[in-house]
Point group: C2
Chain length 192, copies 2
């Protein structure tokens, strides 16, 4: 079966047992938001105990506090009433295994998928590549404690983010499924 | 119980039944990615049938093809091998209920949460507000078919996105849980 067929078939089953979820309100019932990584191994609904309707979930490569994540968080509290936020990065994140220079070089070389070996990523494709990657900040990560703390700080200090919202910093361990607090981040993110 | 206590308690239960998920590989096992909205009512793992390890999930306000979503999608295929993408917006999206001018005015007025009435959002807080919202494109939506099609087109035409990746455009109906194809978008997003 193709991916598309599989997704539509799973969706059909979900819709058939949809129950009373049509009655859920637009604003998150439990009044919080999670910013986390797009990584396939992470299921924030499962690791944080969310049901449909509970909380906003924002995800990107790394779970970074990008401009777009901040756009989403501001909409989340200003229009939809969330009162508390989590920034959750994770162990063994793909964002630790390359730098801006590496991905820019790989993209300039070809638009095929690179291979990951013990020496990092190497390009296996034939060109053409493209140089647009030179103009993108890829928001790579060298240390999880640091990246969580930096991102909580960016959100805390953003002029559109009110000081009353606590921002909790955590690392999800992909080896155990556990959330591990980053106390430095939680301190930076405490409500003022 | 506080939100934080609830989340950590749910996480403890998840970790205790984590099973063999520590063995999951970093690259998505089923080789695809979903870009969808942060809306609390959406659970992409449930509506699309994903288990941990299956697929990248990127989420922001609206499920829009922002620069940051494109950063994430490029990392998704170039370094982690996804071969097929979905852009999934949804009915009753909060992004339909305001404009850039509305949210800019609300943020300039105060950093309290606005109230949503039949006339749209009105500010109920006392200042101070902030003008930083004037410099943000909020990526609001006036029509779902249009927004999905526009976003698939932006991704399709991006210089770092190879033509071989099909991009499917869908709308998730919050009243039924069903994914409804946007044929215009799927046509734009077809592999070349």
């Amino acid at each position: 079966m193709s991916v598309l067929t599989e997704v539509l078939s799973a969706n059909e089953a979900y819709a058939e047992s949809f129950g009373d979820k049509a009655a859920l309100a637009l604003p998150p019932a439990r009044g919080f938001a999670i910013l986390t990584c797009m990584d396939a191994r992470l299921d924030p609904a499962k690791y944080a105990g969310l049901s449909e309707g509970d909380a906003h979930v924002i995800r990107n490569a790394g779970g970074r506090a990008s401009d777009d994540a901040i756009r989403s968080l501001v909409i989340s509290y200003k229009l939809l009433g969330t009162k508390e936020w989590f920034v959750i990065h994770h162990s063994d994140c793909g964002m630790e295994f390359f730098t801006d220079d590496v991905i820019r070089g790989l993209l300039a070389s070809s638009l095929e998928t690179a291979a990951l070996g013990s020496d990092g990523f190497t390009d296996v494709g034939e060109g053409p590549g493209a140089r647009e990657g030179d103009y993108i900040d890829w928001l790579t990560i060298s240390d999880q404690v640091e990246s969580v703390t930096e991102d909580v700080r960016r959100i805390r200090e953003h002029p559109l983010v009110p000081g009353r919202i606590p921002i909790h910093g955590y690392i999800y361990a992909v080896s155990t499924g556990r959330l591990i607090e980053v106390p430095e981040a939680t301190e930076v993110g405490a409500a003022r």
